[in-house]
Symmetry: C2
Subunit: 331 residues, 2 copies
């Protein structure tokens, strides 16, 4: 009746996340009380946001040292004290990095029966919906637009670029290394890819968007954001989705002082978003995503790692850009 | 038949604008050719943007050393070679800092007959329309919202704050010095004012917006922008209108690296705008503005300086924050 867990033993302080910040622990299997369900974790989703939660309050409160590491995942209901869930149902739950969790049932919804079930964490999960709403609602792409997406080989970026192609845009992906770039172009149908690790990055970006950028989907912040900002066309839109370049290390070196001038002159619209803001439109999004996956227009890339004990290394590697597509750990 | 002019003798290079960058010159009175009108300047509008044009291309091409200083103003048609304008008509024209200019008539429109005519440069001119569209279209204020405006005692800011009051918002103005602050509160009806020159600025701002900012109308960029960004509420809107703190001196010290994280977490929308983008809605704007002025809800503050030779000092002073409301020079 044990419950293997990964505990966030120490918060990183202006340093890169490392294995020593985590510890494997053995807790007791929790008991589901009134209105609760007992969950058995199947897959834990790894996201750059996991690291951002360690920096302070975001759209959720900050993490504390000593707690089971927070994280969402796909879990199976094994005992239920609520009407709308029964053993065997799959849910997406903020269950943490552990094998078992007892959670209130009222915020959990039974997921559709869909194979492979990992798609519920990738293209039909937070990653796919983030790509969908961020690009279409915040980016407002039009056919013929040039769309640039950073962290393009990641779980969100790889879907953003493909949806932009479906919508008739010219798509440029920014990713680290030539291999990822070739994959974006050859396998996912991006029109071009630019390597942000190259010393020639800015020149390559300019060459890839000779007429400028209409929509920039920002997953990274930092230097990549800055380079794209200068390449925007008048009236361009920037969907601000994440700032992974700022998460793993010390505080960002620069403030926003220089921004507004360019935002005025180019009449840019910047809009930050969190995918939950669009929850009332999820049905439409999922129906579109499923149609595109069925027709082969949208390829699903998943990066599945085995074993709870490998969660820290999997997150550390994700922050270093190891993954392609949606990374998750099977428990 | 002379034409007194102020020439931009030397472009400032990373330094503050000073009298030595200008020279008084005596040109020849121009002759209006086919399709042109000869204009006699009455009032020249002074705007922080005049200085921005010296930094490089913006929404207009950069200024060059040796040219008559660029600037818009209220001018009287004294000779016309086009159908739609006749001697005595008033127009708003990009006529430069000079007594006479010959310009193509096709982009000029006869202004309404309205007293005092200076209102055509302030509340019914670019300043008033900028305030109107920037606040209402980009800021989307709702009754009860907290609206903050920087350069609040300036030609745009003083109108922004008053329109926000008309729309039922709580309004905080940011301006330099206590005297301006008192004027905003006592005369214009702002709810509070904060002095950005005070060492206590950030604390005062926080105290003035205990529940955070819903709409920030940014005229300044820089430290003031940064302070407001951190005080924004979730889903807040920032109308990016200008960056006067960045215009007069060396290049801005910081880039945008730190921005996107906050924009995401707070779900902010930033939108840059230039008033010409809304030209097709000018009639509605002017009708609203006139109704508010007539009813006394909107007070018009003008700051009129005499004499073409005082144009450089008037602009230099405006960049230093000398003015309240719309500054113009009578020729």
């Amino acid at each position: 009746m044990t419950n293997r867990q990964i505990v966030l033993e120490r918060l990183p302080q202006g340093e890169k996340l490392a294995a020593e910040h985590f510890a494997l622990a053995s807790g007791e299997r929790p008991v589901a009380g009134d209105g609760e369900v007992l969950l058995r974790t199947r897959y834990i989703s790894l996201d750059a946001a996991n690291r951002a939660w360690m920096q302070g309050a975001t759209y959720r409160s900050a993490l504390n040292a000593g707690q089971v590491m927070a994280g969402g995942g796909l879990a199976e209901v094994i005992e239920s004290h609520v009407e709308h869930l029964k053993p065997g149902d799959l849910v997406f739950a903020d269950a943490g990095w552990q094998e078992y969790a007892a959670l209130p049932g009222k915020n959990l919804r039974k997921l559709p029966d869909l194979k492979p079930e990992t798609h519920l964490l990738s293209v039909y999960g937070v990653a796919g919906l983030t790509a969908y709403f961020g690009l279409l609602e915040c980016g407002q792409p039009r056919p013929g637009d040039t769309v640039v997406v950073s962290a393009a080989a990641g779980s969100v970026g790889s879907v953003v670029g493909q949806i932009a192609k479906i919508k008739g845009c010219r798509v440029v992906g920014i990713a680290g290394g030539e291999a990822k770039g070739r994959w974006l172009v050859d396998e996912l149908g991006f029109d071009a890819a630019v390597d942000y690790k190259s010393p020639e990055f800015k020149r390559q970006l300019r060459a890839a968007v000779p007429e400028g950028i209409d929509v920039y989907f920002d997953n990274t912040g930092g230097d990549v954001f800055e380079a794209c900002l200068f390449a925007m066309r008048n009236h361009g839109r920037i969907a601000c989705c994440g700032a992974v370049s700022q998460y793993d290390g010390s505080a960002p070196p620069h403030g926003p002082r220089g921004v507004p001038g360019l935002i005025v002159t180019k009449r840019l619209t910047l809009r930050g978003f969190v995918v939950m803001d669009f929850a009332d439109q999820n049905d439409r999004a999922l129906s579109d995503l499923q149609a595109w996956v069925s027709s082969g227009q949208l390829k699903v890339q998943e990066d599945i790692i085995e074993g709870l004990e490998n969660l820290p290394a999997a997150l550390i590697g994700l922050l270093a850009g190891e993954n392609r597509g949606k990374r998750m750990v099977r428990i």
